[in-house]
Amino acid sequence: MNDYAIELSGVCKSYRFFDLQNIALRLNCGTIMGLIGPNGAGKSTTIRILMGLVYPDRGEVRVLGHCIPDAQVAAKWDIGFASDDMRLYDSMTLGWHINFLKSIYSSWDDAYAHLLLKRFGLNSEQKIKGLSHGQRVKAALLLVFARRPKLLMLDEPTTGLDPVARHEILRELTSVMAEEGRSVLFSSQNTQDIEQISDQITFIDRGRIIDSVDKELYLDRWRRLRLEVPDGVQLPTLPGVIGIRQTGRLAVAIANAFEPHLPNAYENSGARVHAVENMTLEEIFVANVEHSREEVKA
C-alpha cells in the first residue's frame, strides 16, 4: 500500500523563459495540500506535470502509485482534475454533462450531484453557454466532486467565485476528509483559503519549492516581534530572524524559525520586547517571497 497520493522527486522542466527546478513533493494520503506562490511561480506547471499534461525533462512522478506520464490513463480513473482553462460543451446542458460522466464513471454519486446542484444554485437544464464565469467554475467542480475521486487536483478552484460560493467549495473540500484515504491538492491565490483548510502547505517561487511542511508547524515557526530600541542600543543579528525594519526607536523583527528564547535575546541586548505576534499566512507569504528574492539577488 502506497502512503503517498503524490510523489515527485528531482522533477525539472525547462522553458525558454522559465525553469521548474528539482521539484520534490509528497502528499500523504488522507490529507489536503495547499499550493501557494506568486503568479508565474510554477504552480500550474507542477499540477500539469502531475496530470501527465506536461512531460518533465527529468525526474520521477507517481500519482496514486502510478508512474506519470506512462500510467496516466490508469491513474486518471481515480483523479478529479479541474483548472480554469477546462471547457465544458457550450451548446449542451449541465444535465447532459452529468449523464455523460455518469455513464463513464462507476463511482458517480447521483444523490451527491443533486445535492451539489442545489447547494451551488445551479440548474441542470441550463446550457453551459448561458452560465456566468462563476457558475461555470461551480459546474466544473460539481462534475469532479460527484465522481468522489480518491484524489482531487484543483488549480485555483476558488478564483472568480463570490464569497458564498467560495465557502461552499471550501466546505466540500474539507468534507472530502470525512472519508478515509481521500486526498486533495489545490492551488490558490487566496492565502486565507489555504490557511483554513490545508494540512500541508507548499510554497513555490520562481520554479523552486521554498517550503513544503505541516501547516501548524509552519505557522508556528513565524513570529513578528515589536521592539523598542533605546538610543545607543544596536539590535543584534540573531539566527532565525530574516528581517528587521526600524524607524526611530521602534522596530519590527520577522522570525521564520522562532524559538522561545528569542525575545530574551533581544531583551539582553538592551531592547524592549513589546509584543510577540503570530502571523497570518498572507503576511508570511509576502515576507517569505521578499526574503527568498533577496537571497537570490545576494
Binding site: T31, T174, M177, K215, N278
Partner: protein
C-alpha cells in the same frame, strides 16, 4: 456552532480550543461525555484535520479531554473541569493585567488598589436596583 474569526488574531487552533472549553464550561459537553472525533470536527467546522488535531492534543495535555485508544475522545472525567477552565481564564486575565501594569511601571500596591476599586464599582452596580 464553532466560528473561526478572521479578525481574531490568535491562530485557529487556539480559537477552536477556546470554543471547546466554552462548551464544557457552559455544560453543553458534560464531564466524561464523548465528543466528536478530530476528523468529524474538522469536517463540521470546515478547517484542516491537522489544526483540529493540534487543538485536541493541547487540550489533552491540559487535562481537559482524554483520548481512549479505539474508543474516541471524551471530556475529562474530572467533575470540576468547567470550574478549572474558568480558573485558567482568570489566571490568564490576571497575568495580562500584571504584565500591562509592569510595562507602565505601576507598583503592585497600586495595581492592588485599582483592582479593589473595580471590585467596589462592580459590587455597587449589582446592588443598585434598576
Amino acid at each position: 456552532m464553532f466560528v473561526i474569526s478572521q479578525t481574531d488574531k490568535r491562530p485557529m487552533y487556539l480559537q477552536i480550543m477556546e470554543q471547546m472549553k466554552q462548551r464544557i464550561a457552559v455544560g453543553d459537553w458534560a464531564a466524561g461525555q464523548a465528543i466528536p472525533s478530530i476528523r468529524q470536527l474538522a469536517v463540521d467546522i470546515g478547517v484542516s484535520v491537522i489544526t483540529v488535531k493540534r487543538a485536541y492534543l493541547e487540550l489533552e495535555r491540559e487535562g481537559v479531554i482524554v483520548t481512549r485508544q479505539g474508543k474516541g475522545c471524551f471530556v475529562a472525567l474530572d467533575s470540576n473541569v468547567g470550574a478549572r477552565i474558568r480558573e485558567q481564564e482568570l489566571a490568564q486575565h490576571l497575568e495580562q493585567a500584571v504584565r500591562s501594569a509592569a510595562m507602565m511601571g505601576l507598583s503592585p500596591k497600586n495595581l492592588e488598589r485599582r483592582i479593589r476599586a473595580i471590585y467596589e464599582r462592580v459590587a455597587d452596580a449589582e446592588k443598585e436596583p434598576v
